[in-house]
Protein backbone atom coordinates (compact mmCIF):
# COMPACT_ATOMS: atom_id res chain seq x y z
CA UNK A 1 0.00 0.00 0.00
CA UNK A 2 1.42 3.35 -1.03
CA UNK A 3 1.96 6.06 1.51
CA UNK A 4 1.72 9.80 0.88
CA UNK A 5 4.81 11.76 1.80
CA UNK A 6 5.61 15.46 1.66
CA UNK A 7 9.17 16.68 1.77
CA UNK A 8 11.46 19.38 0.41
CA UNK A 9 14.05 18.44 -2.17
CA UNK A 10 16.52 21.06 -3.35
CA UNK A 11 14.22 23.81 -2.02
CA UNK A 12 11.25 22.43 -3.92
CA UNK A 13 8.16 21.02 -2.18
CA UNK A 14 7.54 17.46 -3.33
CA UNK A 15 4.38 15.47 -2.64
CA UNK A 16 4.43 11.85 -3.64
CA UNK A 17 2.71 8.53 -3.19
CA UNK A 18 5.40 5.93 -2.63
CA UNK A 19 5.72 2.30 -1.76
CA UNK A 20 7.15 2.04 1.79
CA UNK A 21 10.14 0.08 0.50
CA UNK A 22 11.27 2.86 -1.85
CA UNK A 23 14.56 4.18 -0.58
CA UNK A 24 15.47 7.82 -1.06
CA UNK A 25 18.10 7.16 -3.75
CA UNK A 26 15.57 5.35 -5.96
CA UNK A 27 13.03 8.07 -5.27
CA UNK A 28 15.48 10.77 -6.33
CA UNK A 29 16.65 8.95 -9.43
CA UNK A 30 13.55 7.14 -10.68
CA UNK A 31 10.74 9.41 -9.55
CA UNK A 32 12.36 12.83 -9.76
CA UNK A 33 15.09 12.08 -12.33
CA UNK A 34 17.71 13.66 -10.09
CA UNK A 35 20.47 11.39 -11.29
CA UNK A 36 23.48 13.07 -9.67
CA UNK A 37 22.94 10.75 -6.70
CA UNK A 38 24.61 7.48 -7.65
CA UNK A 39 23.86 4.01 -6.37
CA UNK A 40 26.77 1.68 -5.73
CA UNK A 41 26.38 -1.03 -3.13
CA UNK A 42 22.79 -0.19 -2.15
CA UNK A 43 23.31 -1.32 1.42
CA UNK A 44 25.03 1.61 3.08
CA UNK A 45 28.67 0.72 2.59
CA UNK A 46 30.09 2.59 -0.41
CA UNK A 47 28.88 6.14 0.17
CA UNK A 48 28.14 6.92 -3.50
CA UNK A 49 24.54 7.88 -2.67
CA UNK A 50 25.40 10.30 0.14
CA UNK A 51 23.02 13.29 0.23
CA UNK A 52 22.14 15.89 2.87
CA UNK A 53 19.06 15.24 4.97
CA UNK A 54 18.16 18.20 7.18
CA UNK A 55 21.62 19.55 6.53
CA UNK A 56 23.50 16.40 7.61
CA UNK A 57 25.08 13.79 5.34
CA UNK A 58 23.18 10.51 5.05
CA UNK A 59 23.12 7.42 2.86
CA UNK A 60 20.15 7.78 0.52
CA UNK A 61 20.06 4.02 -0.17
CA UNK A 62 19.24 3.20 3.46
CA UNK A 63 16.86 6.10 4.11
CA UNK A 64 13.25 5.13 3.48
CA UNK A 65 11.37 7.87 1.63
CA UNK A 66 8.20 7.34 3.67
CA UNK A 67 10.15 8.02 6.85
CA UNK A 68 11.26 11.44 5.54
CA UNK A 69 7.97 13.27 5.98
CA UNK A 70 8.80 16.97 6.36
CA UNK A 71 12.53 16.45 5.77
CA UNK A 72 14.73 18.84 3.84
CA UNK A 73 16.84 16.95 1.31
CA UNK A 74 19.69 18.40 -0.71
CA UNK A 75 21.42 16.58 -3.52
CA UNK A 76 24.43 17.60 -5.58
CA UNK A 77 22.05 19.32 -8.04
CA UNK A 78 20.77 21.51 -5.20
CA UNK A 79 24.28 22.66 -4.30
CA UNK A 80 25.21 23.86 -7.81
CA UNK A 81 25.33 27.50 -6.66
CA UNK A 82 26.92 26.86 -3.31
CA UNK A 83 30.35 28.43 -2.97
CA UNK A 84 32.00 25.63 -0.96
CA UNK A 85 30.75 23.11 -3.48
CA UNK A 86 32.03 25.15 -6.40
CA UNK A 87 35.47 25.32 -4.81
CA UNK A 88 35.40 21.56 -4.20
CA UNK A 89 34.39 20.81 -7.80
CA UNK A 90 37.16 23.03 -9.14
CA UNK A 91 39.67 21.31 -6.85
CA UNK A 92 38.52 17.84 -7.93
CA UNK A 93 38.93 18.99 -11.52
CA UNK A 94 42.37 20.51 -11.06
CA UNK A 95 43.87 17.96 -8.64
CA UNK A 96 42.65 14.80 -10.31
CA UNK A 97 39.96 14.00 -7.74
CA UNK A 98 38.10 11.70 -10.08
CA UNK A 99 38.72 9.11 -12.74
CA UNK A 100 35.50 7.33 -13.77
CA UNK A 101 33.44 9.72 -11.65
CA UNK A 102 31.03 7.19 -10.22
CA UNK A 103 31.86 7.83 -6.57
CA UNK A 104 32.29 11.59 -7.09
CA UNK A 105 28.82 12.83 -6.08
CA UNK A 106 29.10 11.04 -2.72
CA UNK A 107 32.69 12.20 -2.30
CA UNK A 108 31.67 15.80 -2.95
CA UNK A 109 28.77 15.75 -0.50
CA UNK A 110 30.87 14.12 2.24
CA UNK A 111 33.73 16.53 1.62
CA UNK A 112 31.32 19.49 1.62
CA UNK A 113 30.04 18.46 5.04
CA UNK A 114 33.54 17.74 6.29
CA UNK A 115 34.91 21.17 5.34
CA UNK A 116 31.89 22.82 6.90
CA UNK A 117 32.50 21.04 10.22
CA UNK A 118 36.30 21.05 10.13
CA UNK A 119 37.54 23.83 7.87
CA UNK A 120 41.12 23.57 9.13
CA UNK A 121 41.94 19.95 8.43
CA UNK A 122 45.03 17.82 7.85
CA UNK A 123 45.49 15.17 5.16
CA UNK A 124 45.48 12.48 7.81
CA UNK A 125 42.13 13.69 9.17
CA UNK A 126 40.73 13.83 5.64
CA UNK A 127 41.69 10.18 5.14
CA UNK A 128 39.93 9.19 8.35
CA UNK A 129 36.85 11.29 7.78
CA UNK A 130 36.40 10.20 4.16
CA UNK A 131 36.72 6.49 4.99
CA UNK A 132 32.99 6.00 4.46
CA UNK A 133 33.29 6.76 0.75
CA UNK A 134 34.80 4.12 -1.48
CA UNK A 135 36.48 4.82 -4.83
CA UNK A 136 36.79 1.67 -6.90
CA UNK A 137 39.30 3.35 -9.24
CA UNK A 138 41.32 3.63 -5.98
CA UNK A 139 42.02 7.26 -6.75
CA UNK A 140 42.32 8.18 -3.10
CA UNK A 141 45.55 10.17 -3.43
CA UNK A 142 43.91 12.55 -5.87
CA UNK A 143 40.73 12.75 -3.83
CA UNK A 144 42.55 13.58 -0.60
CA UNK A 145 44.73 16.11 -2.44
CA UNK A 146 41.63 17.73 -3.96
CA UNK A 147 39.87 18.06 -0.61
CA UNK A 148 42.99 19.44 1.05
CA UNK A 149 43.39 21.95 -1.77
CA UNK A 150 39.75 22.98 -1.44
CA UNK A 151 40.18 23.37 2.32
CA UNK A 152 43.26 25.57 1.82
CA UNK A 153 41.49 27.63 -0.84
CA UNK A 154 38.47 28.20 1.39
CA UNK A 155 40.66 28.99 4.40
CA UNK A 156 42.81 31.50 2.53
CA UNK A 157 39.73 33.31 1.24
CA UNK A 158 37.96 33.57 4.59
CA UNK A 159 36.71 37.09 5.03
CA UNK A 160 37.56 38.11 1.46
Amino acid sequence: MNVKVELTINDRKVVADVEPRTHLADFLREHLRLTATHLGCEHGVCGACTVLIDGAPARACIALTVALEGADVKTLEGLADDRRMRVLKTSFHERHGLQCGFCTPGMLISAWDLLRRKPDISERQIRQEMSGNICRCTGYQGIVRSIKHAADTLQSSVGV
Partner: protein
Protein backbone atom coordinates in the same frame (compact mmCIF):
# COMPACT_ATOMS: atom_id res chain seq x y z
CA UNK B 1 14.46 -1.24 -5.19
CA UNK B 2 15.86 -3.95 -3.01
CA UNK B 3 13.72 -4.69 0.05
CA UNK B 4 10.72 -7.03 -0.15
CA UNK B 5 7.38 -5.24 0.35
CA UNK B 6 6.32 -4.26 3.84
CA UNK B 7 3.72 -2.01 5.38
CA UNK B 8 4.72 1.16 7.16
CA UNK B 9 3.30 3.12 10.02
CA UNK B 10 4.73 6.03 11.97
CA UNK B 11 3.83 6.33 15.64
CA UNK B 12 3.55 9.81 17.11
CA UNK B 13 3.71 8.85 20.79
CA UNK B 14 5.12 6.08 22.99
CA UNK B 15 1.66 4.79 24.01
CA UNK B 16 0.74 4.53 20.33
CA UNK B 17 3.99 2.67 19.61
CA UNK B 18 3.66 0.14 22.43
CA UNK B 19 0.02 -0.47 21.49
CA UNK B 20 1.16 -1.30 17.96
CA UNK B 21 3.90 -3.56 19.36
CA UNK B 22 1.39 -5.48 21.49
CA UNK B 23 -0.23 -7.02 18.39
CA UNK B 24 0.05 -10.72 17.69
CA UNK B 25 2.35 -10.19 14.74
CA UNK B 26 4.25 -7.13 16.00
CA UNK B 27 5.95 -4.80 13.52
CA UNK B 28 9.69 -4.29 13.51
CA UNK B 29 10.82 -1.02 15.03
CA UNK B 30 12.51 1.45 12.69
CA UNK B 31 14.77 3.91 14.54
CA UNK B 32 17.80 5.31 12.69
CA UNK B 33 17.60 2.44 10.23
CA UNK B 34 21.38 2.27 9.74
CA UNK B 35 21.46 -1.49 10.42
CA UNK B 36 17.87 -2.48 9.76
CA UNK B 37 17.51 -0.93 6.31
CA UNK B 38 20.75 -2.50 4.94
CA UNK B 39 19.45 -5.84 6.21
CA UNK B 40 16.10 -5.19 4.55
CA UNK B 41 17.91 -4.26 1.34
CA UNK B 42 19.87 -7.50 1.50
CA UNK B 43 16.66 -9.33 2.42
CA UNK B 44 18.36 -10.77 5.47
CA UNK B 45 15.88 -9.32 7.95
CA UNK B 46 12.33 -10.44 7.28
CA UNK B 47 9.81 -7.70 8.01
CA UNK B 48 6.16 -7.57 6.99
CA UNK B 49 5.56 -4.34 8.85
CA UNK B 50 7.69 -1.46 10.09
CA UNK B 51 6.83 0.84 12.94
CA UNK B 52 8.67 4.15 12.61
CA UNK B 53 9.38 5.62 16.06
CA UNK B 54 11.51 8.54 14.88
CA UNK B 55 8.66 11.05 15.21
CA UNK B 56 8.16 10.36 18.90
CA UNK B 57 9.52 13.52 20.51
CA UNK B 58 9.88 12.05 24.01
CA UNK B 59 12.31 9.42 22.70
CA UNK B 60 14.62 12.25 21.62
CA UNK B 61 14.53 14.03 24.96
CA UNK B 62 17.70 14.17 27.04
CA UNK B 63 17.38 14.90 30.72
CA UNK B 64 20.12 15.64 33.22
CA UNK B 65 19.50 14.68 36.82
CA UNK B 66 21.75 15.16 39.86
CA UNK B 67 23.34 11.74 39.48
CA UNK B 68 22.81 10.75 35.88
CA UNK B 69 21.99 11.73 32.33
CA UNK B 70 18.99 10.10 30.67
CA UNK B 71 19.46 9.89 26.94
CA UNK B 72 16.34 9.33 24.85
CA UNK B 73 16.72 6.16 22.78
CA UNK B 74 16.74 8.21 19.56
CA UNK B 75 19.80 10.26 20.53
CA UNK B 76 22.08 9.99 17.50
CA UNK B 77 25.77 9.09 17.58
CA UNK B 78 26.49 12.49 16.01
CA UNK B 79 24.75 14.29 18.92
CA UNK B 80 27.24 12.66 21.28
CA UNK B 81 30.14 13.29 18.93
CA UNK B 82 29.28 16.97 18.55
CA UNK B 83 28.64 17.50 22.26
CA UNK B 84 25.01 18.46 21.68
CA UNK B 85 23.90 16.43 24.70
CA UNK B 86 25.12 16.64 28.30
CA UNK B 87 28.04 14.29 28.99
CA UNK B 88 27.96 11.83 31.88
CA UNK B 89 31.21 10.10 31.00
CA UNK B 90 34.13 12.56 31.10
CA UNK B 91 34.16 12.53 27.31
CA UNK B 92 34.17 8.77 26.70
CA UNK B 93 30.74 8.68 25.04
CA UNK B 94 31.61 11.53 22.70
CA UNK B 95 34.90 9.87 21.77
CA UNK B 96 33.31 6.46 21.18
CA UNK B 97 30.41 7.94 19.20
CA UNK B 98 32.82 9.81 16.92
CA UNK B 99 34.42 6.51 15.99
CA UNK B 100 31.24 4.64 15.08
CA UNK B 101 31.12 3.82 11.36
CA UNK B 102 31.07 6.99 9.22
CA UNK B 103 29.67 10.48 9.63
CA UNK B 104 26.76 9.78 7.24
CA UNK B 105 25.81 6.85 9.49
CA UNK B 106 26.36 8.68 12.77
CA UNK B 107 23.96 11.48 11.81
CA UNK B 108 21.07 8.98 11.74
CA UNK B 109 22.07 5.94 13.81
CA UNK B 110 20.75 5.96 17.39
CA UNK B 111 22.05 4.70 20.72
CA UNK B 112 18.78 2.90 21.47
CA UNK B 113 18.77 1.15 18.12
CA UNK B 114 22.38 0.04 18.56
CA UNK B 115 21.68 -1.45 21.97
CA UNK B 116 18.46 -3.12 20.80
CA UNK B 117 20.35 -4.76 17.93
CA UNK B 118 23.26 -5.79 20.20
CA UNK B 119 25.74 -6.34 17.40
CA UNK B 120 28.73 -7.64 19.35
CA UNK B 121 31.19 -5.68 17.20
CA UNK B 122 29.35 -2.36 17.60
CA UNK B 123 30.45 0.25 20.13
CA UNK B 124 27.54 1.24 22.33
CA UNK B 125 26.89 -2.09 24.04
CA UNK B 126 30.48 -2.32 25.26
CA UNK B 127 30.70 1.36 26.23
CA UNK B 128 27.33 1.37 28.03
CA UNK B 129 28.19 -1.80 29.97
CA UNK B 130 31.47 -0.21 31.02
CA UNK B 131 29.63 2.92 32.18
CA UNK B 132 27.12 0.80 34.17
CA UNK B 133 24.24 2.26 32.16
CA UNK B 134 20.63 1.34 32.83
CA UNK B 135 17.94 0.83 30.20
CA UNK B 136 14.40 2.03 30.67
CA UNK B 137 11.94 -0.17 28.80
CA UNK B 138 8.22 0.13 28.33
CA UNK B 139 5.41 -2.02 27.03
CA UNK B 140 1.65 -2.29 27.53
CA UNK B 141 2.35 -4.27 30.69
CA UNK B 142 4.31 -1.41 32.23
CA UNK B 143 7.78 0.00 32.63
CA UNK B 144 10.95 -1.63 33.88
CA UNK B 145 14.64 -0.92 34.20
CA UNK B 146 17.58 -3.14 33.53
CA UNK B 147 21.36 -2.87 33.55
CA UNK B 148 22.72 -2.96 29.98
CA UNK B 149 25.11 -5.62 31.28
CA UNK B 150 22.14 -7.89 32.01
CA UNK B 151 20.25 -6.87 28.89
CA UNK B 152 22.83 -8.07 26.35
CA UNK B 153 22.84 -11.87 26.36
CA UNK B 154 24.79 -12.68 23.22
CA UNK B 155 25.32 -11.63 19.60
CA UNK B 156 22.09 -9.94 18.42
CA UNK B 157 20.45 -11.49 21.47
CA UNK B 158 18.97 -9.44 24.30
CA UNK B 159 16.56 -9.74 27.21
CA UNK B 160 13.98 -7.53 25.49
CA UNK B 161 10.48 -8.91 25.95
CA UNK B 162 7.75 -9.18 23.31
CA UNK B 163 6.25 -5.78 22.63
CA UNK B 164 8.90 -3.86 24.55
CA UNK B 165 10.40 -0.56 23.51
CA UNK B 166 13.65 0.97 24.80
CA UNK B 167 12.79 4.51 25.83
CA UNK B 168 15.85 5.79 27.67
CA UNK B 169 19.48 4.94 28.35
CA UNK B 170 20.44 6.28 31.75
CA UNK B 171 24.15 6.76 32.39
CA UNK B 172 25.26 7.45 35.96
CA UNK B 173 27.49 10.54 36.10
CA UNK B 174 31.03 9.29 36.41
CA UNK B 175 33.20 10.82 39.09
CA UNK B 176 35.41 13.71 37.97
CA UNK B 177 38.49 11.79 39.12
CA UNK B 178 37.72 8.79 36.90
CA UNK B 179 39.92 8.28 33.82
CA UNK B 180 39.05 6.21 30.78
CA UNK B 181 40.83 4.37 28.03
CA UNK B 182 39.19 3.11 24.88
CA UNK B 183 40.90 1.02 22.27
CA UNK B 184 39.33 -0.40 19.16
CA UNK B 185 41.01 -2.65 16.61
CA UNK B 186 39.65 -2.10 13.11
CA UNK B 187 41.03 -3.11 9.75
CA UNK B 188 39.74 0.08 8.16
CA UNK B 189 38.55 3.28 9.86
CA UNK B 190 34.84 2.98 10.57
CA UNK B 191 34.50 -0.74 10.03
CA UNK B 192 33.12 -3.09 12.63
CA UNK B 193 35.69 -3.82 15.31
CA UNK B 194 37.86 -6.91 15.55
CA UNK B 195 38.25 -6.12 19.21
CA UNK B 196 37.50 -3.23 21.52
CA UNK B 197 38.11 -2.53 25.16
CA UNK B 198 37.04 0.15 27.60
CA UNK B 199 38.94 0.68 30.83
CA UNK B 200 37.82 2.96 33.65
CA UNK B 201 40.08 3.84 36.54
CA UNK B 202 39.39 6.02 39.54
CA UNK B 203 42.20 5.77 42.06
CA UNK B 204 40.53 8.31 44.37
CA UNK B 205 37.58 6.00 45.02
CA UNK B 206 39.43 2.72 44.46
CA UNK B 207 37.45 1.74 41.39
CA UNK B 208 38.42 0.07 38.13
CA UNK B 209 36.31 -1.58 35.44
CA UNK B 210 37.30 -3.13 32.13
CA UNK B 211 34.91 -4.38 29.46
CA UNK B 212 35.94 -6.24 26.33
CA UNK B 213 33.74 -6.13 23.23
CA UNK B 214 33.67 -7.58 19.70
CA UNK B 215 34.01 -11.05 21.18
CA UNK B 216 31.35 -12.79 19.04
CA UNK B 217 29.27 -12.91 22.21
CA UNK B 218 28.09 -10.53 24.88
CA UNK B 219 30.81 -8.13 26.04
CA UNK B 220 32.96 -9.54 28.85
CA UNK B 221 33.39 -7.71 32.13
CA UNK B 222 37.06 -8.35 32.90
CA UNK B 223 37.13 -8.50 36.69
CA UNK B 224 40.63 -9.84 37.27
CA UNK B 225 42.10 -7.41 34.75
CA UNK B 226 40.31 -4.52 36.47
CA UNK B 227 41.76 -5.68 39.79
CA UNK B 228 45.24 -5.69 38.28
CA UNK B 229 44.69 -2.22 36.80
CA UNK B 230 43.62 -0.86 40.17
CA UNK B 231 46.63 -2.46 41.82
CA UNK B 232 48.85 -0.70 39.26
CA UNK B 233 50.22 -4.09 38.21
CA UNK B 234 53.01 -4.22 35.65
CA UNK B 235 52.37 -5.37 32.09
CA UNK B 236 53.23 -9.02 32.78
CA UNK B 237 50.80 -9.21 35.68
CA UNK B 238 48.12 -7.44 33.67
CA UNK B 239 48.61 -9.93 30.83
CA UNK B 240 48.20 -12.84 33.25
CA UNK B 241 44.98 -11.31 34.58
CA UNK B 242 43.68 -10.76 31.03
CA UNK B 243 44.45 -14.38 30.15
CA UNK B 244 42.50 -15.51 33.25
CA UNK B 245 39.50 -13.38 32.28
CA UNK B 246 39.58 -14.61 28.68
CA UNK B 247 39.63 -18.22 29.82
CA UNK B 248 36.98 -17.82 32.49
CA UNK B 249 33.96 -17.35 30.21
CA UNK B 250 32.21 -19.62 27.75
CA UNK B 251 34.16 -18.15 24.87
CA UNK B 252 36.89 -20.06 23.17
CA UNK B 253 39.34 -17.77 21.48
CA UNK B 254 41.86 -18.77 18.86
CA UNK B 255 45.45 -17.63 19.30
CA UNK B 256 45.07 -14.62 17.00
CA UNK B 257 41.88 -13.39 18.65
CA UNK B 258 43.39 -13.84 22.07
CA UNK B 259 46.31 -11.68 21.04
CA UNK B 260 44.04 -8.96 19.59
CA UNK B 261 41.84 -8.90 22.68
CA UNK B 262 44.86 -8.84 25.00
CA UNK B 263 46.35 -5.93 23.06
CA UNK B 264 43.06 -3.99 23.09
CA UNK B 265 42.70 -4.40 26.86
CA UNK B 266 46.34 -3.51 27.52
CA UNK B 267 46.14 -0.35 25.45
CA UNK B 268 42.83 0.74 26.97
CA UNK B 269 44.27 0.12 30.44
CA UNK B 270 47.42 2.08 29.62
CA UNK B 271 45.36 5.00 28.31
CA UNK B 272 43.26 4.99 31.48
CA UNK B 273 46.44 5.05 33.58
CA UNK B 274 48.13 7.73 31.48
CA UNK B 275 45.25 10.16 31.08
Amino acid sequence: MKPAPFTYRAASSSPEAIDALAKEAPPRILAGGQSLVPMLNLRLAPADALLDITRIAELRAVEETINSVRYGALTTHASFEDGLVPDASNGLMSHAAGNIAYRAVRTRGTIGGAIALADPAADWVTVCIALEAVLHLQSTSGKRQMQVEEFVLGPYFTAIAEGELISTIEVPKRSASERWGYHKVVVKTGEYAESMAVALLDRARGFARIVLGATDGAPIVMKKSAGALLAAADEAALKTAIACDLEAGEHEFGAAKRMLHTTAVLRAAKDAMAS
